[in-house]
């Protein structure tokens, strides 16, 4: 049994919160640069340049890429041959988030009760997803999620006889409804199948897949490609001011579902789609 102390977990989570918020993912940065090359709309090009510039400034001046440093979504894949020692696991993750958001001067955006809305002033609790996997490693991924885009996410429970066209129309509607508020160019995570919450979970999870990598399942890879093409013909563009760069990627994950249903969840993310990971 490999032992991992919760002190270490706290420290890693703290570092990852800062890292994710200040260093734009390489794959996103590359996708933005590629978009700048193919974009023809002058205003869109100018905004893309600003966004790329912003990432450079954030990195060199150690500032958050975006002021909405999000809710910390933390994915933990725990090898079944790992033994976690020290304090409580989730407490350690939350302490890591608290420390990272304090040390990194990140914004504390979490309110304790969605109804009463008192800021917890620590950006905790984090949203923690834990999975037990084979092996003796612990993989932690921190994904700060901003709410300008999160608020535009949507889910629909389709009939099992719905067609790919129905699914596409739904996704396009979600994107149209985003306008500029979700800070396009977007990254779209889509979960198809499973149950209500499984589809939503897959949608968010798929945001972690590097931009440009297709789902290896042929029919899903094709759907991703087609949707990306359709979305980029909507002329929403960076900041909603027109252009062909409305989305950088469409990432889809599917899961078996019930004979009576076809859940589709769309998690909307922005050009500041952030994540950082570490394997212990």
């Amino acid at each position: 049994m490999k032992k991992i102390n919760t002190r270490k977990i706290k420290q890693i989570v703290s570092q990852l919160c800062i890292e994710a918020n200040m260093n734009l993912r390489k794959d996103i940065l590359n996708a933005l640069k590629k978009a700048l090359k193919v974009e023809r709309n002058k205003r869109a090009k100018r905004i893309l340049r600003e966004i790329i510039d912003n990432a450079r400034i954030a990195k060199t001046e150690r500032l958050p890429i975006c002021q909405d440093t999000g809710v910390a979504v933390v994915y933990c894949e725990i090898g079944q041959d790992v033994s976690i020692v020290g304090s409580e696991f989730e407490k350690a993750v939350n302490e890591g988030v608290r420390e990272g958001y304090r040390k990194g001067n990140l914004r504390k955006s979490v309110v304790s009760s969605p109804i009463e809305r008192e800021n917890t002033r620590t950006n905790t609790p984090a949203v923690i997803h834990t999975r037990i996997v084979p092996g003796n490693k612990l993989r932690i991924t921190v994904c700060p999620k901003g709410f300008g885009s999160e608020n535009k996410s949507d889910i629909r429970m389709f009939e099992p006889t719905a067609t790919t066209k129905d699914i596409k129309d739904f996704v396009l509607d979600v994107v149209r409804n985003c306008g500029a508020e979700a800070c396009p160019p977007l990254v779209l995570g889509i979960g198809i199948g499973g149950t209500f919450e499984k589809a939503a979970g897959l949608a968010k999870l798929s945001l972690l897949r590097p931009i440009g990598k297709r789902n290896p399942k042929k029919h899903i890879g094709r759907l991703e490609r087609e949707l990306l093409g359709d979305i980029n013909r909507l002329n929403i563009g960076p900041m909603g001011l027109g252009g062909k760069t409305t989305a950088l990627a469409v990432n889809i994950l599917e899961f078996p579902t019930h004979i009576a249903g076809l859940p589709v969840a769309v998690c909307v993310s922005c050009h500041a789609t952030r994540s950082a990971k570490k394997v212990l």
């Binding site: 600003e50 002021q67 001011l241």
Partner: protein
């Protein structure tokens, strides 16, 4: 790019046209959801407001805390439409303009037109870049709201685009 000194009096406002790029110099106030809610309450109760809105610009922004040696952290715009339900009473109090991101409702567009206001947009998610344009920042009201407090910002060359001008022309309808 047009350089504009703040505050934005009526004459300056009516000279602006949708689609123009501006660089702002001078004073802005930040305010987002909770600050708007409180301002509206105060107006309803006829209590004095913590800031005068006459000719001023409200920037829809909740910045990150300043790292040592900087006046402010990352400070990009937040979604403007969430402020729509609170905006008309503020325009009635003389508010000159607003900075945010995204569309406004038809009601707000009409109110901007009738009050000869202006709606400006900044690049969403460019908080680090915009941070460099802020030379000074201090909390002037609602400190207890944390990132949602009202900050007074002194900006130099703060880049925005005119999204709704005083004639009610909307950039999002024209692209």
């Amino acid at each position: 790019m047009i350089k504009i000194e703040l505050p934005l009096d009526r004459k300056k406002r009516v000279s602006l046209k949708t689609g123009q790029r501006l660089l702002l110099y001078g004073k802005l106030y930040t305010a987002r959801d909770m600050a708007h809610k409180r301002l509206r309450e105060m107006i309803r109760k006829r209590s004095p407001l913590p800031i005068s809105l006459k000719g001023e610009i409200l920037y829809y922004c909740g910045p990150t805390p300043p790292p040592p040696g900087r006046p402010i952290g990352s400070c990009g715009p937040t979604t403007s439409s969430r402020m729509d339900p609170f905006t008309i009473p503020l325009l009635k109090k003389g508010l000159g303009g607003m900075i945010g991101k995204g569309r406004r409702s038809p009601d707000i567009r009409r109110a901007i037109k009738s009050h000869r206001g202006v709606y400006l947009i900044a690049t969403g998610g460019a908080g680090a870049l915009l941070s460099g344009k802020v030379k000074r920042a201090s909390i002037v009201a609602f400190r207890d709201l944390g990132p949602e407090a009202i900050y007074e910002l002194e900006v130099e060359g703060f880049p925005v685009i005119v999204a709704i001008d005083s004639r009610g022309r909307d950039i999002y309808d024209e692209k």
